[in-house]
């Protein structure tokens, strides 16, 4: 995933707070994926306008973590979503 790539959630994929399970979920066609804190923190930043580079820099600052580590974790997570068509990349 290149720093200039702009990730976005395509239509039909959205974040949802599950009041019953008290957990954030990613809802998609035929799927409900429970998100851990890291996953939710990343997806909360995905707004379809900011680039992968901007998002990971912001996350690194916010959580006081090394940028390289944040980029690696985020790229792995977002690529897995992309392969399942739960995420689009605009470059």
């Amino acid at each position: 995933m290149a720093p200039s790539d702009i990730p976005c959630l395509p239509r039909g994929v959205r974040l949802h707070y599950d009041q019953v399970r008290k957990n954030w979920m990613l809802l998609a066609p035929e799927r409900a994926i429970p998100l851990d804190e890291v996953g939710h923190a990343i997806l909360k930043e995905v707004d379809g306008t900011r680039s992968f580079g901007e998002i990971t820099t912001a996350l690194a600052e916010k959580y006081d973590a090394p940028v390289a580590q944040v980029q690696e974790d985020s790229a792995g997570f977002l690529s897995a979503l992309k392969n399942r068509r739960f995420l689009d990349l605009v470059s």
């Binding site: 395509p10 239509r11 039909g12 994929v13 959205r14 949802h16 599950d18 019953v20 399970r21 979920m25 809802l27 066609p29 035929e30 799927r31 409900a32 992309k82 392969n83 399942r84 068509r85």
Partner: protein, 379 residues
């Protein structure tokens, strides 16, 4: 034992359907129009489902577009906070109706495909002009921008069309395709001689799916239900009985799976009398096959009992007459050999075996001799 809340609910809004597919999964006894739940009751059920923990709502049937209040029902489902999926043949949907469904907040559309050519699709669906209409509807779906999944049921007659189905899915802009080999429950049992795929076809389907999964990675997501009667291991039916999802019939009965009414000893609660939560946690039908107390020793002592839960209860019922038996697809079942031999006999019938078309839920219904000849597109 303390079950988790359900994730998904299938709302069978109506048993009415313009198609007459020979593998129809609805029960033999269809709900009559006058017994269908009204808009308000469905809205209440959606609300109860959301409070119970349901996240995904599948609006199905029959053909859900046959409900005049479909747009209101979608709006009510979104109001309840549910992810709302429409499972449709496309027949009955218009450009205007799709725009209204968009306004109402519909999240996702699943479009069925009976074949990849008009000849095949219209013969299987028993509805002349259905394929052409469906293709038109798919263009409208793309214009609105709904995320789309294409649903394909495979059987002996159309299995060779699978590669083309993958192409059509991409041409329609679908993100997903569900490829399910025909499951023989209810009406489909009458068509085993006509539809049972051969062992070679079942293998070919697996090969084609694996190849497409590799070639189309990141483009088209493929969900696949293989032909289990030629297999050695039973399927993990419903992800486990009473663990993941529930079905509500057009007249409000709540079922652990769509074929559960074929199991004679089960009794079902109705949303008109009992809350969904009470039904899910306390209902006798839901508790009948939770855990392992019900299992025969073959399953109870098996290392796979947490993986496949003894397979499909309805298939055990249909093939052995005992819903508590090990699914006879399993090599450990004493009925396994009989089922394999029968499957091969069904598969060995010629391609001229006539299809027995699904009959609609009307007392005045007559068996159709010529596919699609007695009805025309109403939309």
């Amino acid at each position: 034992m303390n079950p988790q809340p359900p994730i998904a609910m299938l709302a069978e809004l109506t048993h009415r359907c313009p198609l007459a597919c020979p593998y129809c999964s609805n029960p033999l006894e269809l709900a009559q129009i006058e017994n269908e739940l009204d808009t308000e009751t469905w809205a209440r059920v959606f609300d109860e489902a959301s409070r119970l923990g349901v996240l995904q709502l599948h609006l199905s049937g029959g053909e859900p577009a046959s409900r005049r209040d479909l747009v209101e029902l979608v709006a009510a489902a979104r109001e309840a906070g549910l992810y709302t999926n429409l499972i449709t043949s496309g027949i009955g949907l218009t450009e205007k109706k799709l725009a209204q469904l968009d306004q109402a907040g519909l999240d996702h559309v699943q479009l069925s495909l009976q074949g990849t050519t008009p000849e095949m699709a219209d013969e299987i669906g028993g509805y002349r002009g259905g394929f052409t209409r469906k293709m038109q509807v798919s263009r409208w779906i793309a214009e609105v921008g709904f995320p789309l999944t294409l649903n394909v049921v495979l059987h002996r007659r159309n299995l060779h069309q699978l590669p083309r189905a993958f192409e059509i899915a991409q041409e329609m802009g679908a993100r997903r395709i569900e490829v399910a080999t025909v499951q023989f429950h209810g009406w489909a049992l009458r068509n085993r001689d006509a539809l049972m795929p051969s062992k070679e076809q079942a293998k070919e389907a697996i090969r084609l799916v694996n190849k497409a999964r590799k070639d189309l990675k990141g483009t088209l997501v493929i969900d696949f239900v293989p032909a289990d009667y030629h297999d050695q291991l039973p399927k993990r039916c419903m992800g486990g009985w009473g663990t993941t999802g529930l079905n509500v019939t057009p007249d409000g009965q709540v079922l652990p799976c769509h074929a559960a009414q074929t199991i004679p000893h089960l009794t079902f609660d109705n949303v008109s009398e009992t809350s969904l939560s009470e039904i899910w946690y306390k209902g006798p039908a839901f508790n009948a096959y939770r855990g392992d107390a019900w299992m025969p020793d073959t399953c109870k002592t098996c290392e796979r009992k947490e993986i496949d839960f003894g397979g499909c209860r309805c298939q055990a019922m249909a093939l052995t007459g005992d819903p508590n038996a090990t699914d006879p697809v399993c090599a450990k079942s004493p009925h396994h050999l009989m089922v394999k031999q029968r499957a091969e006999q069904h598969a060995a019938q010629g391609d001229d075996v006539p299809l027995t078309y699904r009959e609609p839920p009307r007392k005045t219904a007559t068996q159709r001799q010529i596919p699609g000849a007695t009805r025309r597109a109403s939309a």
